[in-house]
């Protein structure tokens, strides 16, 4: 009897079309949206990128890192070093910054992979603190107080003049638009890349390692290689995102660039409330996070407490996150990765 395998669902075909329309709209956004919206969208897209990489690491790779700020900071510092000390164009420097994060990730993995579970988490945090302390000793980049990007470097950035002329905006707005478009490309490449990975046999192996590492080894999965692959990929992407965030901020300090709250705690919040181990989770999570931040940012520490209470409530009520609630009830998948066997002795009614 012959069987076929499908991953597509009707909802996924609809969501693919909606996705393409959304992407076209996002590309065109600077032509009709104000500067405030562009900055908000930049924030959403960069946080989404960080969240997708953390989700790849923890949700699919089973590597719960709380040291992602090491890679954000490494990428950001690499950007400043390349621009200020190396005279590189900031746009090129953003792309290269990922390699700085990789350079930190290799020794980090070497040590941290000797640890498991909670020990791994703490280990990555400790290493991130060490990287922060080293960065604060970098005198030519302002040491502990940090430094700013030179004004002429950001003003003369690639594409800025072109955007100024095409859209008829001032230099500062053009820089925001450029950063937004780069963030959009980064988020799309991240989501597309992770989705592609999960649909390959490597993606299956990754899920197997997450679910049961000893059993995975026993069926021929190279568990060590899978861990290295996701760790290094996440570090690279997180580094690029970090550089981009600080290109837009144009000012860096070790405490900000290596902040565990901003670059790891918020990111974990986004993934956990959205739904860990799903592609859709971080997207929902970042929207909820942005909404809460916009609503509650003026309330100071009450804001953080609200985030905490919400995170704990969701973990208790819906451990699989908001997307988990949706997909449980509707079995909706916007990014279908499950291979479903059809045909042969599987008729539709028995196929569950």
């Amino acid at each position: 009897m012959s069987y076929i395998v499908t991953t597509q669902t009707r909802a996924s075909s609809v969501s693919a079309i909606a996705g393409i329309l959304l992407i076209l709209m996002l590309i065109a956004l600077p032509f009709f949206a104000g500067r405030g919206t562009i900055q908000d969208m930049f924030f959403i897209l960069t946080m989404l990128t960080l969240a997708q990489f953390w989700n790849l690491l923890a949700g699919y790779g089973g590597l719960v890192s709380i040291g992602q700020q090491a890679f954000v900071g490494a990428g950001a510092y690499a950007l400043f070093a390349l621009v200020i000390l190396g005279g590189f164009d900031p746009v090129l420097a953003v792309a290269l910054a990922g390699f700085a994060a990789l350079a930190i990730a290799v020794p980090t993995a070497f040590f941290a992979f000797r640890l498991n579970g909670a020990y791994f988490a703490i280990g990555t945090w400790v290493i991130a603190e060490v990287v922060r302390l080293i960065a604060s000793q970098w005198k030519s980049l302002g040491g502990g107080t940090g430094t700013s990007l030179p004004r002429d470097a950001t003003r003369d950035m690639w594409f800025v003049e072109m955007i100024e002329e095409t859209l008829g905006v001032r230099s500062a707005a053009a820089r925001d638009i450029l950063a937004y478009w780069i963030a959009l490309v980064l988020a799309l490449v991240t989501i597309g890349g992770i989705y592609w990975l999960l649909r390959t046999r490597r993606g299956l192996a990754l899920a197997a390692v997450r679910d049961n590492i000893e059993a995975a080894k026993s069926v021929g999965v190279d568990a060590g290689r899978m861990k290295w692959m996701v760790f290094l990929t996440s570090a690279f992407g997180t580094g690029v995102a970090g550089a981009l965030i600080y290109l837009q901020k144009a000012r860096i300090s070790p405490d900000a660039a290596f902040s565990v709250t901003d670059w790891t705690a918020y990111v974990i919040f986004i993934v956990v409330i959205g739904g860990i181990g799903t592609m859709e989770g971080p997207i929902i999570g970042v929207l909820v996070f942005f909404a809460l931040q916009s609503l509650l940012a003026d309330f100071g520490s009450w804001y953080l407490m609200t985030l905490g209470v919400l995170a704990i409530s969701i973990m208790l009520v819906a451990p699989r996150g908001l997307w988990g609630l949706v997909s449980e009830r509707t079995s909706l998948q916007l990014f279908p990765i499950q291979r479903r066997l059809r045909g042969g002795r599987l008729t539709t009614s028995e196929d569950q």
């Binding site: 009897m1 080894k217 026993s218 021929g220 042969g344």
Partner: protein, 239 residues
């Protein structure tokens, strides 16, 4: 010709010697049963053969190749398949995906190349109707079947079964024996650890008894079960 040969294999956990100078070989195509009291070191012996644990001393040869220092992953690729005593499914993957991982990685093939084989194994192990169910939702019998199916998907030459009949009803057990006999009839060498003796003896041609990490008897199942030493140690019968 033997497919597997162990020579003076030992393993210690701290001061406890779990495998103590074990030497035996398994001819190609044979079904060997392993029995012994709890804590005799049966599962450890399996872990040493599959490479999930590494031996402290001795050599292990598989298909005339010294695999003593070869990783679990590479032993699987060379043809060692196993089931776990406590089923270890990939819970969030579906039954079919569980097999897909095993077939693509255990045989180093593409998904398209193994699709039909995986469906075949699901039919043989009577899991086909559960193909698209997440493995975490399976019953005990189905989990045991999945252990067997996943090991089969790696196309093993040597199949290690660890208490696969434990906890099943008599009817379930008979059905599983039928499946295992079919697999054996196709020429797969089997080593089977089992407490359910009648299930074991209905399949195996040779029996090995382990106690305190040592082999205390190996040979024809009837003779082994009749021997005084085995009855004393294994069955606790004072004769």
């Amino acid at each position: 010709m033997s497919i597997l040969a162990l020579k003076d294999v030992s393993k210690k956990f701290g001061a406890l010697t779990v495998t103590n100078g074990v030497t035996f070989d398994v001819p190609k195509g044979q079904a060997l049963g392993i029995i012994g009291p709890n804590g005799a070191g049966k599962s450890t012996l399996f872990n040493l053969i599959t490479g999930n644990l590494s031996a402290d001393a001795g050599r292990i040869h598989f298909q005339d190749r010294d695999v003593t220092r070869v990783s679990a992953k590479d032993r699987c690729l060379s043809g060692v398949g196993r089931s776990f005593q406590i089923p270890q499914p990939f819970e969030k993957l579906t039954v079919y995906e569980n097999l897909l991982v095993a077939a693509t990685h255990g045989c180093n093939l593409s998904e398209a190349a193994v699709q039909a084989d995986c469906a075949d194994v699901l039919e043989q192990t009577e899991l086909i109707r559960r193909a698209n169910t997440p493995a975490g939702q399976l019953s005990l019998l189905e989990r045991k079947r999945l252990e067997l199916a996943r090991a089969m998907a790696t196309q093993p030459n040597l199949l290690l079964l660890d208490e696969i009949a434990g906890g099943l009803t008599e009817g379930e057990c008979q059905a599983l024996i039928g499946t295992i006999k079919d697999i054996h009839a196709r020429g797969v060498t089997i080593i089977w650890i089992e407490h359910v003796l009648h299930a074991l003896t209905s399949v195996v041609e040779r029996l090995l008894v382990l106690d305190f990490g040592k082999i205390i008897g190996i040979g024809d199942p009837d003779e082994i079960m009749a021997s005084k030493k085995v009855r004393e140690i294994y069955l606790g019968i004072d004769i």
